[in-house]
Protein backbone atom coordinates (compact mmCIF):
# COMPACT_ATOMS: atom_id res chain seq x y z
CA UNK A 1 0.00 0.00 0.00
CA UNK A 2 2.76 2.42 0.95
CA UNK A 3 4.71 1.31 -2.11
CA UNK A 4 1.67 2.05 -4.31
CA UNK A 5 1.33 5.42 -2.65
CA UNK A 6 4.96 6.34 -3.29
CA UNK A 7 4.64 5.29 -6.94
CA UNK A 8 2.39 8.33 -7.37
CA UNK A 9 4.29 11.29 -8.76
CA UNK A 10 2.40 13.69 -6.48
CA UNK A 11 3.51 11.74 -3.41
CA UNK A 12 7.11 11.68 -4.58
CA UNK A 13 7.12 15.44 -5.16
CA UNK A 14 5.53 16.17 -1.79
CA UNK A 15 7.84 13.81 0.09
CA UNK A 16 10.78 15.35 -1.74
CA UNK A 17 9.83 18.81 -0.53
CA UNK A 18 9.32 17.59 3.05
CA UNK A 19 12.58 15.65 3.09
CA UNK A 20 14.47 18.71 1.85
CA UNK A 21 14.05 20.18 5.34
CA UNK A 22 12.74 17.37 7.54
CA UNK A 23 13.15 19.09 10.90
CA UNK A 24 11.02 22.06 9.88
CA UNK A 25 7.25 22.21 10.19
CA UNK A 26 5.68 22.93 6.82
CA UNK A 27 2.23 24.34 6.23
CA UNK A 28 0.18 23.49 3.19
CA UNK A 29 0.77 26.82 1.41
CA UNK A 30 4.53 26.23 1.61
CA UNK A 31 4.15 22.71 0.26
CA UNK A 32 1.98 24.06 -2.55
CA UNK A 33 4.51 26.69 -3.58
CA UNK A 34 7.45 24.27 -3.24
CA UNK A 35 5.84 21.55 -5.34
CA UNK A 36 3.79 23.59 -7.80
CA UNK A 37 0.87 21.17 -7.31
CA UNK A 38 -2.74 22.28 -7.08
CA UNK A 39 -3.95 22.55 -3.52
CA UNK A 40 -6.64 19.96 -4.18
CA UNK A 41 -3.98 17.38 -5.04
CA UNK A 42 -1.96 17.98 -1.89
CA UNK A 43 -4.51 17.25 0.82
CA UNK A 44 -5.29 13.63 -0.21
CA UNK A 45 -1.58 12.79 -0.21
CA UNK A 46 -1.03 14.48 3.15
CA UNK A 47 -4.05 12.62 4.59
CA UNK A 48 -2.67 9.26 3.42
CA UNK A 49 0.80 9.97 4.74
CA UNK A 50 -0.71 11.04 8.04
CA UNK A 51 -2.79 7.85 8.23
CA UNK A 52 0.40 5.86 7.67
CA UNK A 53 1.96 7.87 10.52
CA UNK A 54 4.73 9.11 8.28
CA UNK A 55 3.59 12.66 9.04
CA UNK A 56 2.70 14.41 12.25
CA UNK A 57 0.46 17.43 12.07
CA UNK A 58 -0.82 20.07 14.42
CA UNK A 59 -2.29 23.56 14.60
CA UNK A 60 -0.04 26.53 15.08
CA UNK A 61 -0.35 28.36 18.38
CA UNK A 62 -2.92 31.21 18.38
CA UNK A 63 -0.18 33.72 19.21
CA UNK A 64 1.62 32.79 16.02
CA UNK A 65 -0.78 34.78 13.83
CA UNK A 66 -2.36 38.18 13.70
CA UNK A 67 -5.61 38.62 15.53
CA UNK A 68 -8.53 37.17 13.62
CA UNK A 69 -6.53 35.18 11.10
CA UNK A 70 -7.40 31.50 10.93
CA UNK A 71 -4.85 29.07 12.29
CA UNK A 72 -2.54 27.18 9.96
CA UNK A 73 -1.92 23.48 10.22
CA UNK A 74 1.64 22.27 10.17
CA UNK A 75 2.96 19.01 8.80
CA UNK A 76 6.27 17.42 9.71
CA UNK A 77 7.81 14.04 8.91
CA UNK A 78 7.87 11.76 11.93
CA UNK A 79 11.12 10.03 12.87
CA UNK A 80 9.93 6.70 11.47
CA UNK A 81 8.31 8.48 8.53
CA UNK A 82 11.59 10.12 7.55
CA UNK A 83 13.43 6.79 7.40
CA UNK A 84 10.53 5.09 5.59
CA UNK A 85 10.10 7.96 3.14
CA UNK A 86 13.79 8.08 2.26
CA UNK A 87 13.84 4.34 1.62
CA UNK A 88 10.60 4.32 -0.32
CA UNK A 89 11.69 7.26 -2.48
CA UNK A 90 15.02 5.59 -3.21
CA UNK A 91 13.22 2.40 -4.24
CA UNK A 92 10.71 4.30 -6.35
CA UNK A 93 13.49 6.17 -8.17
CA UNK A 94 15.42 2.96 -8.74
CA UNK A 95 12.36 1.16 -10.13
CA UNK A 96 11.70 1.43 -13.87
CA UNK A 97 9.20 4.09 -14.77
CA UNK A 98 5.71 3.03 -15.74
CA UNK A 99 4.63 0.49 -18.33
CA UNK A 100 7.52 1.17 -20.72
CA UNK A 101 10.06 0.47 -17.99
CA UNK A 102 8.29 -2.70 -16.93
CA UNK A 103 8.15 -3.93 -20.55
CA UNK A 104 11.84 -3.15 -21.00
CA UNK A 105 12.65 -5.02 -17.81
CA UNK A 106 10.53 -7.99 -18.93
CA UNK A 107 12.34 -7.99 -22.28
CA UNK A 108 15.73 -8.04 -20.57
CA UNK A 109 14.86 -10.90 -18.26
CA UNK A 110 12.71 -12.87 -20.73
Amino acid sequence: MAANLVESRHTQVILGSLIADPRRRHHSAEIRSATGLGIGAIYPVLARLEALQWLDSGWESPSGREQGWPRRRFYQLSTDGLALARGALASARAAPDGAVGRLRQAGETG
Binding site: A2, G40, P70
Partner: protein, 139 residues
Protein backbone atom coordinates in the same frame (compact mmCIF):
# COMPACT_ATOMS: atom_id res chain seq x y z
CA UNK B 1 -16.51 34.77 12.63
CA UNK B 2 -13.89 37.51 12.65
CA UNK B 3 -10.86 38.11 10.49
CA UNK B 4 -10.43 37.69 6.76
CA UNK B 5 -12.86 35.50 4.88
CA UNK B 6 -12.63 33.98 1.42
CA UNK B 7 -14.73 35.67 -1.24
CA UNK B 8 -18.32 34.40 -1.71
CA UNK B 9 -17.58 32.43 -4.88
CA UNK B 10 -14.71 30.58 -3.21
CA UNK B 11 -16.86 29.90 -0.14
CA UNK B 12 -19.65 28.62 -2.40
CA UNK B 13 -17.20 26.21 -4.07
CA UNK B 14 -15.60 25.00 -0.85
CA UNK B 15 -18.86 24.27 0.95
CA UNK B 16 -19.63 21.03 -0.98
CA UNK B 17 -15.93 20.07 -0.85
CA UNK B 18 -16.20 20.04 2.95
CA UNK B 19 -19.62 18.37 3.02
CA UNK B 20 -18.42 15.26 1.17
CA UNK B 21 -15.76 14.60 3.80
CA UNK B 22 -16.46 12.27 6.73
CA UNK B 23 -18.33 14.12 9.45
CA UNK B 24 -15.56 13.96 12.06
CA UNK B 25 -13.04 15.53 9.70
CA UNK B 26 -15.14 18.44 8.45
CA UNK B 27 -14.26 21.00 11.12
CA UNK B 28 -10.55 20.46 10.66
CA UNK B 29 -10.62 20.73 6.88
CA UNK B 30 -13.09 23.63 6.90
CA UNK B 31 -10.55 25.58 8.92
CA UNK B 32 -7.58 24.41 6.85
CA UNK B 33 -9.32 25.31 3.59
CA UNK B 34 -10.32 28.71 4.96
CA UNK B 35 -6.74 29.43 6.00
CA UNK B 36 -5.51 28.32 2.61
CA UNK B 37 -7.93 30.58 0.74
CA UNK B 38 -7.39 33.59 2.99
CA UNK B 39 -3.70 33.57 2.11
CA UNK B 40 -4.50 34.01 -1.58
CA UNK B 41 -5.84 36.96 -3.53
CA UNK B 42 -9.38 37.07 -5.00
CA UNK B 43 -8.92 35.24 -8.35
CA UNK B 44 -6.47 32.84 -6.72
CA UNK B 45 -9.08 31.99 -4.12
CA UNK B 46 -11.56 30.86 -6.76
CA UNK B 47 -8.95 28.73 -8.55
CA UNK B 48 -7.82 27.17 -5.27
CA UNK B 49 -11.41 26.52 -4.22
CA UNK B 50 -12.07 24.80 -7.56
CA UNK B 51 -8.94 22.70 -7.02
CA UNK B 52 -10.16 21.74 -3.54
CA UNK B 53 -13.52 20.79 -4.99
CA UNK B 54 -11.83 18.60 -7.63
CA UNK B 55 -9.73 16.86 -4.98
CA UNK B 56 -12.42 16.42 -2.34
CA UNK B 57 -13.47 12.90 -3.36
CA UNK B 58 -9.87 11.77 -3.37
CA UNK B 59 -9.47 13.28 0.08
CA UNK B 60 -12.62 11.51 1.25
CA UNK B 61 -11.28 8.14 0.04
CA UNK B 62 -7.94 8.84 1.70
CA UNK B 63 -9.64 9.59 5.02
CA UNK B 64 -11.80 6.48 4.82
CA UNK B 65 -9.06 4.14 3.60
CA UNK B 66 -8.95 1.39 6.23
CA UNK B 67 -6.02 -0.34 4.57
CA UNK B 68 -3.71 2.46 5.71
CA UNK B 69 -4.71 2.04 9.35
CA UNK B 70 -4.44 -1.73 9.01
CA UNK B 71 -0.96 -1.38 7.63
CA UNK B 72 0.09 0.77 10.55
CA UNK B 73 -1.32 -1.80 12.98
CA UNK B 74 0.49 -4.60 11.19
CA UNK B 75 3.68 -2.58 11.07
CA UNK B 76 3.55 -1.99 14.79
CA UNK B 77 4.05 -5.58 15.79
CA UNK B 78 5.44 -6.10 19.27
CA UNK B 79 8.79 -7.13 17.86
CA UNK B 80 9.09 -3.86 15.92
CA UNK B 81 7.87 -1.77 18.84
CA UNK B 82 10.73 -3.19 20.89
CA UNK B 83 13.16 -2.26 18.14
CA UNK B 84 13.81 -5.90 17.20
CA UNK B 85 13.22 -5.44 13.49
CA UNK B 86 13.66 -8.37 11.15
CA UNK B 87 15.75 -6.76 8.41
CA UNK B 88 16.27 -8.41 5.09
CA UNK B 89 18.82 -7.19 2.62
CA UNK B 90 18.31 -6.13 -0.95
CA UNK B 91 20.77 -4.95 -3.55
CA UNK B 92 20.64 -1.24 -4.18
CA UNK B 93 20.17 -0.37 -7.83
CA UNK B 94 21.93 2.97 -7.39
CA UNK B 95 25.02 2.67 -9.56
CA UNK B 96 26.90 5.25 -7.49
CA UNK B 97 26.83 2.88 -4.54
CA UNK B 98 28.61 -0.19 -5.79
CA UNK B 99 27.87 -3.33 -3.73
CA UNK B 100 25.58 -1.28 -1.52
CA UNK B 101 22.87 -3.21 0.28
CA UNK B 102 19.81 -1.69 1.85
CA UNK B 103 17.97 -3.41 4.67
CA UNK B 104 14.26 -3.39 5.24
CA UNK B 105 12.17 -4.87 8.04
CA UNK B 106 9.93 -7.67 6.79
CA UNK B 107 7.19 -6.74 9.25
CA UNK B 108 6.98 -2.97 9.29
CA UNK B 109 8.82 -1.98 6.11
CA UNK B 110 11.25 0.26 7.97
CA UNK B 111 14.49 0.91 6.12
CA UNK B 112 17.76 0.82 7.91
CA UNK B 113 20.31 3.20 6.49
CA UNK B 114 23.41 2.27 8.43
CA UNK B 115 25.09 -1.12 8.38
CA UNK B 116 22.93 -3.55 10.31
CA UNK B 117 25.57 -4.56 12.85
CA UNK B 118 25.47 -0.98 14.16
CA UNK B 119 22.02 -1.55 15.58
CA UNK B 120 21.73 -3.10 18.97
CA UNK B 121 19.91 -6.40 18.88
CA UNK B 122 20.18 -6.98 15.14
CA UNK B 123 19.28 -10.52 14.26
CA UNK B 124 22.50 -12.04 12.97
CA UNK B 125 20.61 -15.09 11.72
CA UNK B 126 18.71 -12.89 9.29
CA UNK B 127 21.95 -11.43 7.98
CA UNK B 128 23.47 -14.91 7.58
CA UNK B 129 20.35 -16.19 5.83
CA UNK B 130 20.41 -13.27 3.42
CA UNK B 131 24.10 -13.70 2.71
CA UNK B 132 23.45 -17.35 1.79
CA UNK B 133 20.50 -16.33 -0.34
CA UNK B 134 22.49 -13.80 -2.36
CA UNK B 135 25.59 -15.97 -2.69
CA UNK B 136 23.44 -18.78 -4.07
CA UNK B 137 22.21 -16.47 -6.84
CA UNK B 138 18.86 -15.80 -5.25
CA UNK B 139 18.35 -12.61 -7.24
Amino acid sequence: MTGPRPNPVARWLVWPAVQVLPRDHRDRYREEFRTELCELGGPGQVAAAASLLRGCLSLRYALLDRRLAAQVTARRSMRCRLGRHDYTGQRDVDLDKEHHMSYRCRHCGRYYERTPDEEEGFDIETLRRNANFFSSGGL
